[in-house]
């Protein structure tokens, strides 16, 4: 299984700088907001958690369409499915590798974008922690979307449509936790634990659902 993780990481480094593209997309989304909202520093710092979360959410969706479709195209999927390892573990590793190369760089890039949006250091810390806890869930839910649309020639758009509604809860609790950290009466721990719970929950359920889907999508 470590071999699979290593392969996925190697692939995303080699194949056209997937990590760079993700962070770049994040940067592009974040810097579009001030154009639309206006350069009011106060307003931006108020909106910053939401902007960063939406940016990370959209950037995390990148590359999900390739998760299984590319494996299917080159025939690797058949071989991945045939082995004696539980298929859901294989999918878990693939989704985890996707997060490692897409979600984690976003978390690491957050301080920079936080400064640009005039977010306070505490806000940046809170955003990083909630993103760290929350973005894996996007990859795990995304794996289901990728498995469902594996046979479709242009499933990329469809995956986003399928996955976005499902990740809204993470967005709600993630932003709520940051607000909790920044403003006094609102709690931080409760929404943050919800984010963690969703990630843990989806890390089991997502790969399981995707594995059922992949088993029966053979043709």
């Amino acid at each position: 299984m470590f071999a699979l993780l290593k392969r996925e990481v190697l692939l995303s480094i080699r194949a056209g700088g997937g990590t760079l593209t993700g962070v770049l997309f994040f940067l592009a989304v974040v810097s579009v907001f001030p154009f639309a909202v206006g350069p009011d520093t106060k307003l931006l710092s108020h909106l910053a958690p939401a902007i960063l979360w939406i940016g990370a959410l959209l950037a995390s969706l990148l590359g999900l369409d390739k998760l299984f479709a590319q494996e299917r195209e080159d025939g690797s999927l058949d071989l991945l499915v045939m082995q004696s390892h539980p298929l859901s573990i294989t999918i878990f590793i693939k989704a985890f590798a996707h997060w490692l190369m897409t979600g984690l760089p976003l978390v690491l890039a957050t301080p920079l974008f936080g400064i640009m949006l005039n977010l306070s250091p505490l806000g940046i810390g809170a955003t990083m922690i909630t993103l760290l806890a929350g973005t894996p869930a996007i990859s795990f839910i995304g794996a289901v979307g990728a498995a469902v649309s594996v046979k479709l020639p242009r499933g990329g758009m469809l995956i986003s449509i399928l996955v976005l509604p499902l990740v809204i809860p993470i967005l709600i609790f993630g932003v709520a936790a940051i607000t909790g950290a920044l403003e006094d009466p609102a709690p931080f721990t409760a929404p943050f634990l919800f984010v963690c719970a969703i990630t843990l929950f989806t890390s089991v359920l997502g790969p399981l659902a995707a594995s059922i889907m992949l088993r029966h999508s053979a043709d």
């Binding site: 071999a3 392969r7 025939g75 058949d78 071989l79 499915v81 045939m82 082995q83 029966h216």
Partner: protein, 202 residues
Amino acid sequence: MKLIVENLSIHRATQEIVSDISFELSSGEALIVTGENGSGKSTTLRGIAGLMPLNTGSIKLLDEKGKQFEGEIREYCHYLGHQNGMKPSLTVRENLDFWQKFCGDPDLTIEEALDEVDLAHTIDLPFSYLSAGMKRRVSIARLLVSDRPVWIVDEPTAGLDAQSVRMFTGLCHAFCEGGGILIAATHLPLGIETEKTLEIGG
């Protein structure tokens, strides 16, 4: 070891692709599946490899004492389909190394396997640099790096030149002599003494 396939039929959507296929193979035997284009050769092979749900029928893999192997049949099979299952951006070594570790049961080392297919010099080149025939040979080398008692190969010699085809038949011979079971969809006779043929849709 014995592979017993009984009354196999496979549907795709509502259409019946193949029906009522039965055969029995024991250690060292090879089955050549022939038939016209679209007769369902690939589907049959994928069905045996556990990649297509079976409509009816059963597949059993028994050991010498007649006891069924544990787990699914697919876990004992190597499958070589139309695609090679290799990543163009990884080197030949990285590709084979991954499949060896992922499939488990290592047999030949990567160097030895590549030597068998006469590609030892490409080991550190990206897979995408190779020509179509060489890519095919690398994916044949994949069959050698992990030990599996059953090989299921679909048009294995597509894109290979005469010399490479001879090399592949040689490998099949060695595999069957070592007690393996081979199922191949191909139009070229492999020249194995214990060869059976199965004509589909004829």
